[in-house]
């Protein structure tokens, strides 16, 4: 079972890789919409990446209003 810290690190690494940013350039408190500059379609893409990586389903309404990686990781953790 992953710890929340591990989950958060994996979320950050996954986002950095997908959006072609240097590893370690994202922080848990970052607002991913601002930091990554993503639109609604890219948000769905990210959701698919996260679900495929963690092997979970993450309903959109559970992450609605979430904008920082730390809270996103918490939502994922609750589904692991």
């Amino acid at each position: 079972m992953r710890t929340l810290e591990q989950t958060t690190r994996e979320v950050l690494d996954l986002a950095a890789k997908h959006f072609q940013l240097p590893t370690g350039s994202l922080a848990p408190e970052d607002d991913f919409f601002k930091k990554l500059g993503i639109d609604s379609l890219q948000t769905l893409e990210m959701l698919s990446h996260l679900e495929n990586h963690f092997g979970i389903e993450l309903p959109d309404y559970e992450v609605q209003g979430v904008s920082d990686f730390k809270t996103l990781a918490e939502r994922i953790q609750s589904r692991l």
């Binding site: 919409f33 993503i38 639109d39 609604s40 379609l41 890219q42 948000t43 769905l44 893409e45 959701l47 698919s48 990446h49 679900e51 495929n52 389903e57 309903p59 959109d60 309404y61 609605q64």
Partner: protein
């Protein structure tokens, strides 16, 4: 007409397979422009059917198969006419899009939707008319219409009910959530999963395989196992038009049109 390039889509016939490519910025919204070209597309079936074994529908847009009906156009058009005239315009649009989707649904060759990215609302309804949905593992599917105060209007509920159990239909409708390709495959919405960027290639190999079978037997099998739910489709248009007259719908459409948030498909 063996090939066509329009403003919203293009198609090309090659060795028995028609490839229809949706290419309408930003997200392949299905409005009057795409409807007119889809009508041209299905009108070409008459001359192409006898020498066609398969048809593949895909998207040229990044990250999206189709975001569905053009809600911005719908809002603009509805807002530009007196309230009492709104149902007439929407009914006419629905009758035309139903005729197109019914023609794709009953085409006498194998139809394949090669889906990548977002496949929402009317986009999913178009894919559901196809015999086989092949999805990129990054694809996502949803029926978000209830957030606007109406139901899917391009035949979505009857076709989803035809193919899947009611539990899945209700989950999609009542939550408006998107489901990923793996989940869609598990529930039977998607026939084959493709690796990232591989849906079209897999659709082509599937079309080539389908071409090997006897066309008469194939058409008979399709007619037997995939009847068009005409009565329910008719009901859908009536329910949609009835719901559409409510002021809540115009308010929700206005909110959607003005929403620049990351999840505009959720209320």
């Amino acid at each position: 007409m063996k090939s066509f390039t329009g403003k919203t889509l293009r198609w090309e016939w090659h060795e028995g397979c028609i490839e229809l490519t949706l290419d309408h910025a930003p997200a392949n919204e299905i409005g009057t422009a795409m409807l007119a070209e889809l009508e041209k597309f299905v009108a070409a079936f008459g001359s192409l059917a006898s020498e066609t074994t398969a048809c593949i529908i895909s998207s040229a847009r990044k990250s999206v198969f189709s975001a569905g009906g053009d809600l911005r156009e719908l809002y603009r058009q509805a807002a530009s006419v007196p309230e009492k005239d709104r149902p007439k315009g929407i009914r006419s649009f629905l009758e035309h899009i139903h005729a197109v989707i019914n023609a794709i649904d009953s085409a006498p060759f194998v139809t394949i939707a090669a889906v990548h990215g977002a496949c929402l609302g009317g986009g999913l309804e178009l894919a559901l008319a196809c015999d086989i949905i092949i999805a990129d593992k990054m694809a996502r599917f949803a029926f978000p219409e209830l957030r606007l105060g109406f139901i899917p209007g391009f035949g979505g509920i009857p076709r989803l009910k035809r193919d899947l159990g009611n539990a899945v239909v209700r989950d999609l409708l009542f939550t408006g959530r998107t489901i990923n390709a793996t989940r869609a495959h598990t529930v039977g919405l998607v026939a084959q999963l493709a690796g990232e960027g591989e849906a079209l290639a897999i659709a082509r190999s599937t079309a080539a395989q389908a071409a090997k079978y006897d066309p008469v037997a194939r058409a008979a099998a399709k007619e037997f196992m995939k009847p068009i739910p005409h009565e329910e489709l008719r009901c859908e248009i009536e329910i949609f038009c009835e719901l559409f007259t409510r002021p809540e719908v115009m308010a929700a459409l206005k909110k959607f049109v003005e929403d620049s948030g990351p999840m505009p498909y959720l209320p």
